[in-house]
C-alpha cells in the first residue's frame, strides 16, 4: 500500500450517499460521474443503493387502522 494513493472505487463508495442525496458540490459530482462512466462495479452498487432505498421505504410502510383514524377524528373540537 502506498498510503497516499486513493483507490477510485473507495472514493466513489464514500461519495455514494451524498451523490444520491444530491448533496455533492460540482467538483465532487464530476469525480463520481466520471468514475461511474468507467466502472461497472461501482455503477452496479449505486443502482443497488437506489433500489434498496425504495425497497426499505415500501417494506416498513404500515398504514394506521380505521379505528385509530376514527379516534383521531373524534378528538376534533365539537362544533357549537
Amino acid at each position: 500500500m502506498s498510503g497516499f494513493a486513493v483507490d477510485p472505487c473507495d472514493q466513489c463508495e464514500e461519495l455514494l450517499q451524498p451523490f444520491l442525496d444530491r448533496e455533492l458540490n460540482d467538483e465532487e459530482r464530476a469525480i463520481a460521474e466520471e468514475h461511474l462512466d468507467l466502472c461497472g462495479y461501482c455503477r452496479k452498487r449505486y443502482r443497488f443503493e437506489e433500489a434498496l432505498r425504495r425497497f426499505v421505504r415500501q417494506a416498513v410502510s404500515e398504514d394506521m387502522t380505521p379505528e385509530l383514524k376514527t379516534k383521531l377524528s373524534e378528538l376534533r373540537t365539537p362544533l357549537l
Partner: protein, 199 residues
C-alpha cells in the same frame, strides 16, 4: 356604515371557528403520513397509536400556535417527537460509538457473495431481502440514527425539516443519516446472509 361591536365580535368568532375547522381537516388529512413515520420512530403499534392520539389532541388544542403557510406535517411530527421524549419512551441520547468498518458497498457485496451468481443484477440481489428483514433491521438501528433515517428516507422530509423536528443542527442530521444508513445495511446483511450468523 361600520359594524357594531357585537357584530364585530360575532364575525371574529365565526372566522376563528372556520380557521380552526380548516386546520383540523388539514391535520387529519396528513394523519396517514404522520402515522407512517410515527410507527417507525417507536417500537410497537400500540405506542405509535397512543402517540398519535396525544399528538392530535395537543395539536387541536394549540392549533393557533401553528403558523399558516409553514409545513404542517413537520409541525405535527415535532409535537409527536417531543411527546415521545417527554414520556420517557426513549433514551434521548444513545450514540453508537463503536467503530463501523463496513462501508456503503458492504451489503451489496455480502448479498452478491451469497447469490452464487458471478454477476447478478440488482433486482435479484434485492430479492434476497424480505420485508421482515427490513422492519427488524430498521428497529435495530439505535434511536438517534433511526430517527434521521425515518424522517428523511421514510418520511421524505428535507434535512432542514428533520433538523427542526429533532431540534438538532442540520450537520448532525446529515452525519446521523450517513452513519445510520450504514448501520442499517449491516443489520440487513446480518439478517439476510446465513440468518444473522457471523462469517
Amino acid at each position: 356604515m361600520g359594524e357594531t361591536a357585537p357584530e364585530a365580535q360575532a364575525r371574529k368568532l365565526a372566522e376563528g371557528a372556520r380557521d380552526r375547522v380548516r386546520f383540523e381537516e388539514e391535520a387529519l388529512q396528513l394523519a396517514d403520513q404522520v402515522y407512517r413515520v410515527a410507527r417507525r420512530l417507536v417500537s410497537s403499534r400500540e405506542e405509535a397509536e397512543d402517540l398519535m392520539q396525544e399528538t392530535y389532541a395537543r395539536a387541536f388544542r394549540s392549533w393557533q400556535s401553528f403558523q399558516p403557510g409553514t409545513n404542517l406535517r413537520a409541525w405535527l411530527l415535532r409535537i409527536l417527537t417531543n411527546l415521545n421524549i417527554d414520556r420517557g419512551r426513549r433514551v434521548q441520547r444513545a450514540p453508537d460509538m463503536q467503530p463501523l468498518e463496513e462501508g456503503d458497498y458492504f451489503l451489496y457485496n455480502k448479498l452478491e457473495e451469497s447469490t452464487h451468481d458471478s454477476n447478478p443484477d440488482e433486482d435479484r440481489v434485492i430479492d434476497r431481502l424480505s420485508q421482515d428483514d427490513a422492519v427488524s433491521a430498521l428497529s435495530a438501528v439505535p434511536h438517534d440514527f433511526r430517527d434521521a433515517i425515518v424522517l428523511v428516507d421514510i418520511g421524505d422530509f428535507s434535512y432542514n425539516d428533520a433538523a427542526q423536528i429533532l431540534d438538532i443542527p442540520v450537520g448532525t442530521v446529515m452525519s446521523r443519516l450517513h452513519r445510520g444508513r450504514r448501520i442499517l445495511k449491516r443489520e440487513l446483511a446480518d439478517r439476510a446472509v446465513n440468518g444473522g450468523a457471523e462469517e
